[in-house]
């Protein structure tokens, strides 16, 4: 049997030993999928961070709105996500969003359907309304799953970001806004030209903290049914007998999760170095033990 292998000497795994065995083991097709799933995590971060910031901006703006229902919505959005464990939201939204989309398509595509949608313990929509369609390709199913995950992350982290931005908007000195009004700017102009450019300075500590939390929330993708790094680590690490694989081994899950631990530590270390620099800058010259230690060291 011919296998697609990276190193030529991997063609016959039974004869291998030591470092050669390991190099072949770590380059099997499944392992390449495992490495690819790190890309999924980075992709999720790259899409979620700006989307969550957008949701957060919307939420914070709504929470400050002069229109009462919009304000209640904004404040409610901020408050509820923080009172409840985020993982509960992940589990909730991933089904709820899916059902909401299918329900909307069902209403649009099958108007003459007369049976109830909730039948006992089932959720039934017509075949055309299914998402994705049962006939569509495998990659579409995966892409749909990832889209739901991204949306769920954006909703939850959007609330956190809304909280940070709401605080930052309030931290902009009020006198500035009054000055803007005195110069004849409309509320809209005051918001976009005076408040928004200045709020980022106040929002920065909260947002960088949020970034760290977001990094550490990425393994929860596993719970949303995405084939992410946790999925592959469990899959690849479990004991394998010679009947099912060319590379039998015992229970190595501990080592796979150790590798994930190191990956995340390295990832957050970069952010931490960055934050420490900002912190040192802010502590400088303060009449606190921290400032005192800096003064003595200098």
């Amino acid at each position: 049997m011919m296998r697609s292998v990276i190193f030529a000497y991997c063609a016959d795994p039974d004869t291998l030993a030591g470092i050669k065995w390991l190099s072949c083991y770590l380059t099997t097709g499944k392992h390449l999928s495992f490495y690819g799933s790190f890309g999924t995590v980075l992709l999720l971060l790259a899409i979620t961070a700006p989307t969550a910031l957008l949701f957060g901006f919307g939420g914070a703006t709504a929470a400050r709105s002069p229109i009462a229902p919009l304000r209640w919505f904004g404040r409610g959005y901020i408050a509820i996500v923080r009172g409840v464990p985020d993982i509960a939201f992940f589990l909730f939204f991933v089904i709820a969003l899916d059902q909401a989309f299918e329900w909307m398509r069902h209403k649009a595509l099958c108007p003459d359907w007369d049976q109830p949608i909730r039948q006992g313990n089932d959720f039934v929509v017509c075949a055309q309304a299914k998402l994705p369609l049962s006939t569509s390709a495998q990659w579409l199913h995966e892409a749909y799953g990832l889209t739901l995950a991204v949306l769920t992350f954006a909703i939850v982290f959007g609330a956190f970001a809304a909280n940070v931005l709401f605080g930052a908007m309030r931290a902009v000195p009020h006198a500035q806004l009054e000055t803007a009004a005195a110069y004849g700017m409309s509320p809209r102009q005051t918001f976009w030209r005076v408040m928004v450019p200045q709020m980022w300075v106040y929002a920065l500590p909260g947002l960088s903290n949020l970034w760290m939390v977001l990094i550490k929330a990425t393994p929860l993708l596993f719970l949303l049914g995405v084939e992410d790094i946790v999925y592959w680590a469990r899959e690849l690490g479990g004991s394998k007998t010679a009947r099912f694989t060319d590379y039998p081994h015992g229970d190595w899950r501990m080592w796979y999760f150790f590798a994930l631990l190191v990956f995340y530590l390295a990832f957050t270390k970069v952010s931490e170095v960055f934050l420490d620099r900002i912190m040192a800058r802010l502590t400088k010259g303060q009449a606190t033990s921290g400032g005192e230690a800096q003064r003595k060291a200098a």
């Binding site: 923080r82 009172g83 409840v84 313990n121 949020l210 501990m254 999760f257 631990l261 995340y264 957050t268």
Partner: protein, 268 residues
């Protein structure tokens, strides 16, 4: 079956008393409220014990991190970095498989593969690291004048720490520490989704909420129930911590006391 009967059957189900089988069909609201509430026992168990044990380790870590001894400082730094720098979810998985491997070689450590001990250990170390960082930050923020005054009054060593440094540290750290406590209670919901098995379907609140959502394919009932329980728990935590906060700040004039906000800030 009346609701009282359901409560009698299922309210202690999560710790192994009462009806052995979970309800299978025709789920009533009462069943969902009772079982999810029953699961809260575990969330409270994990949260309270981890917080109480973690408090002492956190104080030690904060002192270690601010100590002048190189070894102590580095050890605390690394411990805090290890637990704050990686996701709790991965820590649970790693710890579980580590405990499973340990059980193979040392059978006496088998209890660690059960959630009540294994997951509690992880939560304890995790919250100690987060709180340690908070306490360390508070140690650095102690007003210079306070420690100078303590020196001037002849305080030193353990006496100075116990009467001046430690209470001031706690007072400054308390709002952030309250926040950490709330997050810890939220984090307890991860336990049964991260390797640790729910033996005989004895799980926490989220485990049962997820069970109902899977069976009924309707997330709009069990998750809001869970949310309600957690909001209640959050309010209780804030209330208890504000009592301590009042005591820590009792020497300050009324208007200078920091109030614990109802909505905690995201500071993890």
């Amino acid at each position: 079956m009346s609701c009282w009967q359901t409560i009698a059957d299922y309210s202690l189900r999560s710790i192994g008393y009462g009806e052995r089988l979970l309800p299978r069909g025709d789920f009533t609201l009462c069943q969902q409220f009772t079982l999810i509430g029953s699961g809260m026992i575990w969330n409270i168990y994990f949260g309270v014990l981890a917080l109480m044990a973690g408090f002492f380790l956190a104080t030690a870590l904060a002192l270690g991190k601010s100590s002048n001894t190189w070894v102590l400082r580095k050890c605390s730094d690394w411990f805090i970095f290890l637990f704050r720098g990686s996701p709790l979810f991965i820590q649970f998985f790693f710890a579980y498989f580590l405990f499973v491997a340990l059980k193979g070689s040392v059978p006496a450590l088998g209890a660690f593969t059960a959630p009540w001990l294994g997951a509690l250990t992880v939560l304890f170390l995790n919250t100690a690291a987060y709180s340690g960082e908070i306490f360390y930050g508070a140690l650095l923020s102690i007003p210079k004048g306070d420690t100078e005054a303590a020196d001037a009054y002849g305080f030193s060593g353990l006496n100075k720490f116990r009467k001046i440094t430690w209470p001031t540290m706690l007072r400054l750290a308390w709002p952030a520490y309250t926040n950490e406590a709330i997050f810890l209670f939220h984090a307890t919901t991860l336990v049964y989704f991260s390797g640790f098995p729910a033996l005989k379907q004895r799980g926490d609140a989220l485990y049962y909420a997820n069970y109902f959502a899977d069976k009924t394919f309707n997330p709009f009932v069990p998750y809001p129930i869970l949310a309600g329980y957690f909001i209640l728990l959050t309010l209780v935590v804030i209330w208890v911590f504000s009592l301590v906060n009042n005591r820590l700040n009792r020497h300050l004039p009324q208007n200078a006391r920091p109030k614990l906000r109802f909505r905690p800030r995201l500071l993890r």
